[in-house]
Amino acid sequence: MGKGKRNSGILISSSDDEEEDKDLPLKNNFRSAPTRKNPKRAKRVSISTSSSQHSASNGFDEELLLNDLLREKVQFVLRIKSNILPGQRAYVNSVKQEVKRFCEEFDQGFTQFKVTSGFGSNKDLWVQKYKPSLAELAVHKKKVEEVKMWFEERLRNSRDGSCSNVIIISGQAGVGKSATIHAIACHLGAELCEWNTPTPTIWQEHLHNSNSGICYMSKLEEFESFVERIRKYGLVSSSLTRESPKSIILLIDDLPVVNGKVSYGRLQRCLHLLLQSVRLPTAILINDYGKSESTDHNSRYSEELQLSLQNAGACKVTFNPITVNSIRRILSKICRLEELEVSDEQIDIIAKSSGGDIRHAITSLQYFSLKPNPMQSLPVLKRLSTYPEGKGNESSHLDNKYSLPYGKDATLSLFHALGKFLHNKRETVNLVSSDRDAMLLKEKFVRCPLKMENPELILSQAHGQARLIADFLHENVLDFVKEEAIEDAWIVATYLGDTDLLLGSLSGALCRNFEAENVIQSTAASIAARGVLFGNTSPVSSRWHAIRRPKLWEAEQSMWCNKYGMVTERRDVHSNINLSKLSVLATEFKPALKWLGHRVDEDVEGEQVRNEDDGMSLDEEDDEIEEW
């Protein structure tokens, strides 16, 4: 399977919550700290990235991987450091501490890894070691069959080139997209040719390179040049077919990460080019990140991209997350092969917490087996299993570092949290007011105690941004308010409005103060949650409600779209008059133009005439000006 790509599963999952800022340049040199243990490593780092273009070699060096992991860590620290304003030292330090602790922990794990790896002669990661064959794939049989059929067909009539040669496979991380392709290629006896997203260049390297005259290439540029080469020279087909008469499959594993509209446009163009020109059966793997959770543009772009490719004739297959049962089966198989004694219960927990990501599950298992004494962490796991969801993440309050790596940042738990707030389950008897005489509340403020943990705790487990939570609550809460309780609806709406005000106070502040921002974020989230809990005095009896995706997002999108359209329109239609305000355009010109129909061209002239008329009607004021 893949190389340095996402083998860092362990790391990423635990640092998710701090990873807030990605795109600031890295300035500070913090690199020496974590890498100092092995001076050789630092050197290797730069080697590995400068050769990043075609790291298609399957021969995989374990230390290289670790370097990659370390670098990721380092980079993360750098990212944080580069953002600091003087006032935020304290915060950053605490984060740094955390990261450092993690580094140490990791190094510990690493050394143990070396020791324990003695029993299995192979030093590979298990993910690598237990790469599945076609029959073993945990992916749904039908899907595999579909993909296989496609490839067979393509390979059979590869010469005629009548239909498109591209298949898109999308799915969340670790559902076995690349494994499937590998297995199929193996099965069909085809040569696999891969393009991987090259490992990123870190800032120091960039500096170093630019000093020594190697110019920096963005990932996108590299990809573009790759596609260009394929197009122009048919590089792959010509160079490889000579040596081997085997058929070839081109695999584009994970597209380059791009930001912003412009670069997406470039990527799209590039892919279309590829689509039109490529002669080899090509598989493009696209990672779907939790769709429901992201309002950000990236996911939207990615959806658009897939759609446009499909329209251009590409075939698309979506892989679902792998079922818990399949994961469990595979994990126990690995345990058997590794002669590990892991209880079914533990496997079960790992499988469940992986969120359908099999790579993550296997990595977790390996990490788990590295512990000096696996049994030590058992109590934690047992406690964990009392939670119905069995999410490792939700146990963060247990403050046990062993439980951390199992959880995957799950969007599901956000829905659990939302469900809790919306259903608003309460005790039927009011226990609190009877024994606490000091706190006498007015009748209308009294509520029965909640049948759930502290809302803030749930929020912190759900990892939701305040904005997200507010949007979801706003969309869904009215379903849970009783028909006659319009008063409640108002209270809830007002609290959500308060949340919006708090969040609104954040925007526009260009100099960012992380601490304040965090406080406001969490306060806002808590107000939203508690407002919903408090306001809805008599929630509807719990029947099943699907939680809808906020319509607000679509509305906003189309609003921006229209606004943009209006701006362009203003340019075209009203070219001879002065710039009108958008609001005037929307409220007055547009509806009127609808009536006036298609007479746009005449209209422009008509309006000009009328403008002069206006001038005449306002003669008094004109005179006023003339006088001075």
Partner: protein, 325 residues
Amino acid sequence: MEQDCPHLLFYGPSGSGKKTLIMALLRQMFGASADKVKVENKNWKVDAGTRTIDIELTTLSSTHHVELNPSDAGFQDRYVVQEIIKEMAKNRPIDTKGKKGFKVLVLNEVDKLSREAQHSLRRTMEKYSASCRLILCCNSSSKVTEAVRSRCLNMRINAPTEGEIVNVLEFIGKKEGLQLPSGFSGRIAQQSNRSLRRAILSFETCRVQQYPFTSNQAISPMDWEEYVSEIASSIFKEQSPKRLFEVRGKLYELLINCIPPEIILKRLLYELLKKLDSELKHEISHWAAYYEHRLRLGQKAIFHLEAFVAKFMSIYKGFLIETFG
């Protein structure tokens, strides 16, 4: 007047003729060349310390003046004012004999500029006053800082009265050769809310809808206004979370069509006030003001619009129960 032109600040309600006046003024100052304008979409790269910001703005320019809406740049308006205007003001027009040595910069919607932007505006005014005159245009002068106001000659442009609007409409009717039944233009003027632009637009709409005019011809309101009045009547019919949800959908519809939320709120208030007892009127106008204020401070207008509707429903339901049991 020619030599001694101060910075100008025009303020007054929408549709009162500020732009027209400004254009007329420019025409008088520069002659017909002020009319030869071209529309451009300009891109600026502004260096803001650590990063560069790209700003795209539509400008309208002739040889003598440049017009733009700095508030289109959102919260980056500060940079627009600081850098772009500075740059423009520096490029003085070429002085051929006897021509005026300054350029006029027309800035729209200055009341929507952030405080920082207004401060830098005032600095720009002082710094480049020799090469450049500013004409500012806004709806309400109380949102323009004192510092800017005190450096401009303030011109209040009041909305035309209904009588004046009638005169204009009749003038247009004569020019276009239209037969106007008596009282027709008066009714248009009445509906126009004292906005001349509005009046002329609906006049033209009527012309397209039905001509020759009849004296009792309906003057159709803007489509969004009809929509708001539908919302209002549906609120009156039922007050429940379900209805609130439906109303939300309709509000989205309006927002999608770029109707500014505060205008929706005002129109809704207008529709609601039409059918209420005076006691409730006080209450509702208070809440309208309250939620409009919050709407300005917040980000998502729908939250506050909906809260207003919910509040109204709650009050109105209470009122109904009290009155009719």
